[in-house]
Symmetry: C2
C-alpha cells in the first residue's frame, strides 16, 4: 500500500474547528491528486496520535468527508478515497464552452466599475455611512425574530412581503409622507430596482414612451429600457422637471409614463415645486399616463417640512410610488417597496407571485422589529442630524479649499450637493487627476442622458465624516492644480453647451 504523508498544520486558535481544518486538508490532497481513488487513509487512532489531536477529531473529519462523498468506509474496516466520487475539479474553473444555441447580444454591457485604490475618498458615493449603522441592534432584532416566532417566521413571507413589515412600513409612510397606503397596497421588494422592474413589466409594451429627467439615475433607465421603453429625456431647472416641455411633448406624442425623482432630484438635489407636482398630476389624469415616483431619500430633509409626495395628493390614482430603506439602513439591506392604487397593485402582486414569490421572511421580520421597537425612527433622527452637519461641513470645506472653482446652493435635503464648475475647468482632466490624488468624484456626464460632460459635479456628504470631507476637498484642490498645469499649452476645448442644466449658486 502506498504511503501517504499528510502535510498539515492544525491551528487550534483558528475559528474553524480542528476537525474541519483536517477535513479541508485531506480534501485538498484528494483534489491535487496526492490521494487517489482507492487509496487507504491511516486509521483514526494512528492519525490522531501523529497529529497530536483527539481521536474524535479525526473520526469527525472522516465523517465530514464521507458525507461529501470523498471518502468511503468499508465494512470490515478501513477508510478509503472514494473512486466513485464526483470528479474533483482541479481548480473549479467554470466552463468557457459556448452553447450550441444562439445567444442574443448582451442587453447591457456591464458597467466598467473600476475599484479605486484603498484609501480613496469617495465623494462620488451617495450611499449611507454604514459605520454608524446600529449593527448590534439589528443582530438582536434578527435573533429575536427568528428565535421566537417558530414555524411561521422561517416559512414563506408571501409574494408581497411579510405582513409584519408591510404593516409597519405602511404605517410609517402614511404617517410621515401622507401616502394613502396600508399593508394591502404596499409590496416589499428586494431593491428599488426590482420595484421599478416590476412596474415596468406590468405597465409597458415594447416601444411605449417613458419621459425621464435629462439628468437622472442611469440604473433606473436601464430597467425601463429592459421592458422595451423608448425613453425621452426632458430638461430640469431649479423647480424640477420642466412641465412646459412635457405639455409641449404631449401635444404630439403619446406618453405611457413619466419616471422622476421629484424630491431631492437625483442627481441635482433640486426639490420639485408643489405647483409643478400638481400640474404634473393633472396632466397625468388628463392624458392617461402613469407617474412612477421614485422617492429614494425622503427621510433626509433638513430644512422645514418636506413637500409631500405626488402620490399623496389629488392625482394619486395615476401614481405608482417606489422607494427603499437602503439609504436609511445600509445598501446591503436593500429592502424596497412599491405602493400603488388597488387595481394597479393587484396586477403587480400577480406578476410578483409569478416571477419571485418568496420573500426573505427572516430578514423582513427583523426589520419589522426595528420599526416596532422605535429603533428605526431613532436611527433616522440620528442620521438626519449627522448628514445635516456633514452637508454644512462639506460646503465650508469646498469654499475654503476650492474657492471660486465651484459654486453651489446648500440643498434642503438628500445626501449630496450639486455644484456648478467654473467654465475654464476641464472636468474630465480634473476628475482623472483626482484619482491620482486619492479622491473620486464624478462630473455631470455620468448622470446625463446622453453622457455629455458638463460643468457640474455631484458631491456626496453621506459616506464620509467631516474630517474626511475636508481632506477630500483638499485633494480635489490639489487635483485641480495638477490638471491645470497639465493643460498649459494645450488647445482650449470649446466650452460645452449646457442644454438642460440646473442653475446653481
Amino acid at each position: 500500500m502506498r504511503r501517504w504523508e499528510l502535510t498539515i498544520t492544525l491551528d487550534p486558535t483558528r475559528e474553524l474547528p480542528l476537525f474541519l481544518q483536517l477535513a479541508r486538508a485531506i480534501a485538498d490532497d484528494i483534489r491535487r491528486g496526492r490521494l487517489k481513488p482507492g487509496d487507504a487513509l491511516p486509521g483514526s487512532r494512528e492519525l490522531a496520535k501523529c497529529l497530536g489531536v483527539n481521536r474524535n477529531t479525526v473520526v469527525a473529519s472522516y465523517g465530514e468527508l464521507a458525507a461529501e462523498g470523498l471518502l468511503r468506509t468499508r465494512t470490515g474496516g478501513g477508510t478509503f478515497v472514494d473512486g466513485s466520487a464526483p470528479v474533483p475539479f482541479a481548480a473549479h474553473k467554470p466552463a468557457a464552452e459556448a452553447p450550441t444555441y444562439t445567444l442574443t447580444p448582451l442587453a447591457y454591457a456591464s458597467p466598467q466599475v473600476r475599484a479605486p485604490p484603498p484609501g480613496t475618498l469617495l465623494v462620488s458615493s451617495s450611499i449611507p455611512d454604514v459605520r454608524l449603522f446600529p449593527t448590534a441592534v439589528l443582530a438582536r432584532a434578527f435573533r429575536r425574530a427568528i428565535g421566537q416566532r417558530g414555524r411561521s417566521m422561517l416559512t414563506y413571507a408571501g409574494p408581497c412581503g411579510h405582513p409584519r413589515l408591510r404593516t409597519e412600513l405602511a404605517a410609517m409612510l402614511a404617517r410621515t409622507r401622507g401616502l394613502p397606503v396600508s399593508a394591502d397596497n404596499l409590496m416589499v421588494t428586494h431593491s428599488v430596482e426590482q420595484g421599478i422592474d416590476l412596474v415596468a413589466r406590468m405597465l409597458l409594451q415594447p416601444g411605449d414612451v417613458v419621459v425621464v429627467e435629462a439628468f437622472g439615475y442611469p440604473p433606473a433607465w436601464s430597467v425601463l429600457k429592459l421592458a422595451g421603453a423608448r425613453l425621452i429625456p426632458l430638461p430640469l431647472d431649479e423647480d424640477g422637471l420642466d412641465i412646459d416641455a412635457l405639455e409641449a411633448l404631449l401635444t404630439h406624442q403619446r406618453v405611457r409614463a413619466v419616471f422622476l425623482t421629484p424630491h431631492h432630484q437625483f442627481p441635482t438635489t433640486v426639490v420639485m415645486s408643489q405647483a409643478r407636482r400638481m400640474r404634473l398630476a393633472r396632466l397625468a389624469l388628463k392624458h392617461g399616463f402613469a407617474i412612477i415616483e421614485d422617492d429614494y431619500d425622503h427621510e433626509f430633509h433638513y430644512a422645514g417640512k418636506p413637500i409631500l409626495p405626488i402620490a399623496s395628493g389629488a392625482g394619486g390614482a395615476n401614481v405608482i410610488y417606489v422607494g427603499s430603506l437602503s439609504n436609511l439602513l445600509a445598501p446591503g439591506i436593500s429592502t424596497g417597496f412599491v405602493i400603488a392604487p388597488a387595481p394597479v397593485f393587484e396586477r403587480l402582486a400577480s406578476l410578483r407571485a409569478a416571477c419571485d414569490a418568496r420573500g426573505d421572511a427572516a430578514m423582513e421580520c427583523a426589520i419589522a422589529e426595528l420599526f416596532e421597537d422605535g429603533e428605526l425612527l431613532r436611527h433616522m433622527r440620528r442620521m438626519r442630524r449627522v448628514y445635516a452637519a456633514r452637508r454644512d461641513a462639506l460646503a465650508t470645506s469646498l469654499t475654503r479649499h476650492l474657492g471660486s472653482a465651484v459654486a453651489f446652493r446648500i440643498p434642503d435635503g438628500g445626501m449630496a450637493l450639486w455644484a456648478r464648475v467654473d467654465d475654464n475647468i476641464d472636468m474630465t482632466a480634473w476628475s482623472r487627476a483626482g484619482e491620482h490624488e486619492g479622491v473620486q468624484f464624478f462630473g455631470a456626464g455620468c448622470y446625463d442622458f446622453y453622457h455629455r460632460e458638463q460643468p457640474f459635479l455631484r458631491l456626496s456628504f453621506s459616506y464620509h465624516d467631516e474630517t474626511e470631507l475636508d481632506e477630500a476637498a483638499q485633494r480635489m484642490a490639489r487635483a485641480l492644480t495638477q490638471s491645470r498645469n497639465r493643460r498649459v499649452g494645450m488647445t482650449r476645448n470649446a466650452t460645452i453647451r449646457n442644454t438642460h442644466a440646473v442653475s446653481s449658486g
Copy 2:
C-alpha cells in the same frame, strides 16, 4: 383652550419603551381627530405627573412625534398639534380609485390559497421542517457577519451576490455535485423562481417553445410563460422525461429550451436515468436548445450515490443549472443560485445588474459563515437522516392505515412520495373529505399541465414528524371512508384516462 383628556394605560412590562407607548397613544388621538391641528398639549411636567412617569419619558415622546411632524414646539413655549402635518389618514385605507391609463388584463390570477384551519396536517407541503432549523446558529452567524466586517459587509454585495457566498456555494456544488463551477459563473438569486425568471428573460423571445414535464411545478411554468414561452408538455415514466417523445417532437418542431427536474422529479420523485440524461444532453447540443435543469433538492438522497446533474456531464455547455438553499435551510431564507457556462453567464449577469443589482450582503454573508463553520454541512447530514426516517415512517403508516387504497414505491430521495390511488376512489371527494378531517393532501391534478385529476397523490414527509405523519394517515383513512359513504348511490364517474402517468408500486 379646549381640554384634552388622554386615555392611555402605560404598561412598563411591555417590550415597547414607555415613551413610544405614549407617542403611539397621542398619535392615535391625532388620527382619530380627538386632537386637532393647533391644539395645545399639556406641559411635559404636568403630563408626567398625571401619568406617573418620569418627565424625560414625556419629553422623549414629544420628540418622537415632532420628528414625525405630528407635533410642533413653538419658540416661547408650548407643544401643539402641527396643522401642516401630512393629513393623518383615519384608517390608512388604500386608494381604490382606478387610474386613467389603461391596464392590461391580469397576467395571472393569483392562486386561491385558502389557509387550512389551524391544526390541519399538511402532507401537501413539500417544505422543510423549520422546527429543526438551527436558528441560534444562524443568529450567531448573522451577528458575526454584520458585526465584524465593517463597511464592506453592509455595502453592496454586487449584482451576482456576495463573493464570500458565491465562493462557498461554488466549492460545495463542485465538490458534491461535480459541477464545473466557480464563483465566476455562479449567481446568487433571491429565490429559485427569480433564477428561472432571469434565465427565461435572457433566453426567450415571445413564442419560443419550451418543453416541460407533463407533471411538474406550476410556478416554474408561470415564470416561463411570463417571458412569452409556448410550453409543450411531454410525458414521463419511471426513468424520467420520455426522450423518445422529445426526439419525435424535434423532427417537426423547433425547441428553444427544455425545462426539467431530473433529480427526484417534481412531483413524481422519479430519478431520471443516466442514459436518458446523456441522450438529452446530446440532443440539446445537436438541435441547439438549452436545458434548464432545476435541481431543487439534490442534497436529500438516501440510497447510494445520487446521479450527477446533467450540467456536470458532457453536454454541460448547453445546460443552465438552477437551484436553491431553501429546502436545506428554510423557505424564509430562499437564497437560490444559477450556474451557466461563461458566455451565457455574462448575459445573465448583465441582465441581473440592470433589473435587481443589489444583493442582501448581510444575509448572504451570514449564510457564507454557516458554510465556513461547517454548520451547513452538519445541518444537511442531520436533515438527511431525519427525512430518511420520516420517509420510512410515512410508508409504514400509509400501508397500515390505508392498505390497498394507495400503492407506492419508496423514493430514493426527495421530500415526498408519489402514490398511485386505487381506481375506485374519487380523488376530489377524498381530498375534500380530508379537509374536514384536518389533513391536507393534493391529487395529481395540481401538478398536471392540463389540471386533469388523475389517480395519484403526492405526500410529503418533510414537514411533519413520525407521530404527525401517522396521525395524518389515520385522518386520510377516515376521510376515505367518509367520501365513500357519501358516494353511495351516486353515479360512478368514468375513470379518468391517465395519459402521462408514472407507474408506481
